[in-house]
């Protein structure tokens, strides 16, 4: 099966190719045959998460436009159904139900925070929907109704902390875990604490603090981190702060003069898009860990950036990791639908396993039976222009461990 999306084919060629590959009896001339295939978009367009999630809606819309311009899918037009759950977790579940029961979508792309994913999970399982979740998360989950195209902890959090402890990363021996108060930061930090303990870092050398969503008064916490760092061991910050609370957090770091050479911070939920609204000069050298950066040099990435900037009509708009994960998820879904010849959830699920996409991160990513992708890990330092300078990466994609070995209860779940 050719990858119908990554090649710019004419509509006719796409149809021919698809027809040949699927050997479907007849695809008639018009591209919009029959009822459209519906793609639900479940991202917060307002509230504290809008800063991160709005771009993901636009990415899905871009992909939908792209696939329609190439003749649609299975000879049918693809139509996006956009709803706004407004950073309101119970509303996520309501909107998910609305998408599945009222709009009758064939697939949904959505959620950023884990609390929103946990909120919609029962709905997708009950109604046998299909959700593509594009953001790195804490793992400890594997639903047959969800495909996770972001990183599991071993694909982001653990390599990032290992880097901080390495010579290049500044040999940190004291870690401040700062996070927003919900399931993702708490679980990730639980895994990280166990990991750090296994590396010989005592609990006394770990500081853990949580703040509410949208927190803006960071002066006390940043001052405490400064003091924590002054106890004679190299210190680093691991930030699982989500949403727009990052803006005042980084502003406070800058105002209190915390330089990356002294106390580097690595963020798991801050990318190019979040930095777009901040003065990045005081932040040079602070880190983020992702599986993709806009500064990656690969043909697929050049194509992605061009397509995005043309779609959004702004030559300076940035791309980021969850956008890439959305793109990869969408391409895989389209390939799986083409392979299955239907949008029926059970058939598409089977067809998803083993799907490969030549991703903008520069590698060919594969969907495994554990519903997670193998992904390369990259660590970038913030540069003055708000982009990331990739200072470390894994030699290739690594397989996701969604059941972390650092959580004792998982021993029985893991196969080996």
């Amino acid at each position: 099966m050719t990858d119908i999306l990554s090649h710019r084919l004419t509509r006719r060629a796409a149809l021919l190719g698809m027809g040949a590959a699927l050997a479907t009896p007849a695809i008639h001339g018009a591209s919009a045959q029959g009822a459209p295939i519906k793609v639900g978009v479940l991202h917060s367009l307002s509230g504290t998460m809008a800063i991160s999630e709005t771009a993901l809606r636009d990415t899905v819309l871009m992909m939908v436009e792209g696939i329609n311009s190439r003749g649609g899918l299975l000879g049918r037009r693809v139509e996006a159904v956009v709803v706004d759950p407004a950073s309101n977790w119970p509303l996520f579940a309501e909107k998910a139900r609305e998408l599945l029961q009222v709009a009758k979508v064939d697939v949904t792309f959505g959620c950023w925070t884990s609390v929103s994913r946990k909120s919609v999970l029962p709905v997708f399982e009950e109604l046998n929907g299909l959700l593509f979740y594009p953001v790195q998360y804490e793992g400890e989950e594997q639903s047959k109704n969800v495909f996770y195209t972001g990183a599991a902890p071993n694909q982001q959090a653990i390599p990032a902390v290992e880097y901080l402890m390495s010579k290049d990363g500044g040999e940190a021996r004291r870690i401040a875990l700062l996070g927003t108060d919900y399931v993702y930061p708490r679980t990730t930090n639980r895994i990280l604490r166990a990991f750090l303990n296994s590396k010989g870092i005592a609990d006394a050398d770990i500081m853990e603090e949580y703040t509410p969503f949208g927190h803006s008064d960071w002066q006390g916490i940043v001052a405490r981190v400064k003091r924590f760092a002054g106890e004679g061991k190299r210190t680093a910050i691991v930030s699982t702060i989500n949403g727009d609370a990052n803006v005042p957090f980084y502003r406070e770091l800058g105002n209190q003069g915390i330089k990356a050479e002294d106390i580097p911070s690595v963020a798991f939920s801050v990318g190019e898009e979040e930095l777009a609204g901040i003065d990045t000069k005081p932040l040079v050298g602070h880190l983020a860990a992702w599986n993709y950066f806009m500064s990656v040099n690969s043909p697929a990435n050049t194509e992605f950036k061009n397509q995005w900037q043309a779609y959004i009509k702004n030559p300076r708009r940035v791309t980021n990791d969850p956008m890439e994960a959305t793109l990869v998820g969408f391409k895989m879904w389209a390939q799986a639908v083409a392979k299955a010849g239907t949008t029926a959830v059970d058939a598409v699920r089977e067809a998803m396993y083993g799907q490969k996409v030549d991703a903008p991160c520069g590698y060919t990513l594969e969907m495994h039976r554990n519903h997670h992708l193998s992904k390369p890990v990259m660590i970038g330092e913030v540069m003055e222009n708000g982009q990331f300078n990739i200072v470390w990466k894994t030699p290739g994609p690594i397989v996701a461990e969604n059941w972390s070995p650092f959580i004792p209860e998982n021993a029985s779940r893991r196969r080996g």
Binding site: G47, G220, E231, N255
Partner: protein, 517 residues
């Protein structure tokens, strides 16, 4: 410049171990290598004291060094090693990481400690302090002998102490511990604690020095904590002041108060955008204060005349109606400006840290907000006490009918009072745009806090609002280190509940006939 530095270095008696040309070139070329190679080369160049290294290191630090595909280095259109003009097509900038950046700071420090520019020398002293290497001792001794600026001397003494502590000589180490202990600074404390494990034999002396520093730091830390509390208090004060007028004086439960604050922040954004590129741009923030006041006051007046006046004496309906208005305002802003946050930039004088006497470091933006909060409070007090409008307002509040008989147009006074309170909320929005995200739901985060402050301080008392806001702010910050941010807030809320049980009228209860209304 190079020659000058070389001479200065020689004068200082610190003879640089200049490389042979080949050696220098080989080292310099490694600046374009892997991060590990870069860090080593930077260190080597710094320790050599070779002045030829300075422009190279400077260029590397500024991101101006570029690498040709064949490994040659360029600065602009010139060869980085010889300075001769050279073709730079196809050169890619040499990137550095934190490790290299740190090495650069130390290396540049060593080379720039003789700079004629005091700011550069201060940075240099900090850079050398960072390296904590005994090899720097002769350099530091020489620099100290010449240095006259007290601030730089302070840093140099610290760096010298750290370097002595890193030496192999026991007596020298003790001297280092002594001078670090005497400095009383946070940085010295860190240096001492770092050295503790490597110098088990000196642990006692180090502990004594640390205790000595801690004693000196205790005052400073308390000062900083107090500042944080006052800062939070001033934010609460600003958010609550408008409410102290509309709710406290008029008794209107205005659930749209938060939205007025939010509109003030958006007005700031608009003023900033309107002035962008003009000569007034640096003054956008001060100019936004009257603008925000006018916009929200006008809206407040319209709201009072159009809606609230029909509901006087019916608190439940007022509450529901203003809640609805608040949601409409939020949605309107979302439609006009979009759901995404808007960026209001901070002027330069509101960025960074300021050292108060006693070495208490405070962030500039927070300091200005405290000042602004107090200024607004004084303004409100003055307006109520000394103006005709204030007199009429007090008269209407105390006895509406008698005030009316005296010829006061009570309806007009009501409208003006509500507009005044709303305008203050707008001014608070200007301040909050500096520390919080300007988004349509900015106000919702402050409405509960505002009511809390007004009720706790005593409804109808401005002094109560002030004391209430500051008390809550300081308490919150005192609790935070022990309980974390979330629990501290919960604890404060529980505290207020208990307090209100004992004193339903708050800290400053109004006395006399006015209180009965």
């Amino acid at each position: 410049m190079k020659r000058l530095i070389l001479t200065l270095l020689l004068v200082l008696g610190f003879a640089p171990i200049c490389f042979a040309q080949d050696d220098f070139n080989a080292t310099a070329l490694r600046l374009g290598g892997s991060f590990g190679e870069q860090a080593e080369a930077v260190e080597k160049l710094g320790l050599s004291g070779d002045p030829r290294g300075l422009p190279l290191l400077q260029a590397l630090a500024d991101g101006k060094l570029a690498r040709m595909p064949d490994g040659a280095l360029r600065i602009g259109d010139a060869d980085a090693l010889t300075g001769a003009p050279a073709d730079a097509t196809g050169a890619s900038p040499v990137r550095i990481n934190n490790r290299v950046r740190a090495a650069l700071r130390s290396a540049l420090g060593r080379l720039q400690i003789v700079s004629p520019d005091p700011a550069e020398r201060l940075r240099a002293a900090d850079g050398i302090l960072r390296s904590r290497s005994a090899q720097d001792l002769p350099l530091l001794d020489a620099a100290l002998a010449r240095e006259t600026v007290p601030r730089i001397r302070e840093r140099l003494v610290l760096a010298q102490g750290a370097a002595r502590l890193a030496s192999d000589d026991e007596a020298m180490k003790r001297a280092g511990i002594e001078s670090l202990g005497a400095s009383g600074s946070e940085a010295a404390r860190t240096v001492l604690l770092e050295a503790r494990t490597a110098n088990a034999g000196l642990a006692e002396a180090i502990d004594a020095a640390v205790t000595r520093i801690d004693r000196q730091l205790a005052f400073r830390r308390a000062g900083e904590l107090l500042f944080q509390g006052l800062s939070l208090g001033s934010v609460l004060l600003l958010a609550a002041l408008g409410l102290a007028v509309t709710f406290g004086v008029m008794g209107v439960i205005n659930m749209a108060h938060g939205e007025f604050v939010m509109l003030g922040a958006y007005t700031t954004f608009l003023v900033q955008e309107a002035l962008r590129g003009t000569f007034l741009a640096p003054w956008a923030l001060p100019l936004a204060v009257p603008a925000a006041f006018l916009v929200t006051a006008l809206l407040g007046a319209v709201m009072e005349r159009g809606l609230i006046r029909h509901l006087y004496g019916r608190p439940l309906e007022t509450l529901l109606m203003t809640f609805g208005v608040g949601m409409m305002l939020q949605q309107a802003v979302r439609l006009i400006f979009g759901a995404q946050n808007r960026e209001v930039s901070s002027p330069a004088w509101m960025q960074g840290t300021l050292m108060l006497p006693g070495e208490i470091s405070v962030t500039q933006n927070r300091l200005w907000i405290i000042v602004f909060g107090i200024a607004v409070l004084l303004l409100v007090m003055a307006a109520i006490r000394f103006t005709r409008f204030g007199l009429e307002m007090r008269a209407v509040v105390q006895n509406r009918r008698i005030a009316a008989t005296m010829g006061i147009r009570t309806g007009r006074v009501d409208a003006l009072t509500f507009a005044f309170g709303s305008g203050i909320a707008g001014m608070a929005g200007v301040a909050l745009s500096q520390i919080d995200n300007v988004s349509p739901n900015l106000g919702t985060g402050y409405i509960v806090d505002s009511f809390m402050v007004v009720v706790f301080g005593g409804v109808g008392s401005l002094a109560g609002t002030l004391i209430g806001a500051l008390t809550l702010g300081v308490f919150n910050k005192l609790l935070e280190p022990y309980t974390g941010v979330v629990l501290a807030k919960v604890a404060v809320l529980v505290g207020i509940m208990l307090f209100i049980q004992r004193r339903p009228k708050g800290l400053f209860a109004l006395k006399g006939r006015a209180a009965d209304q």
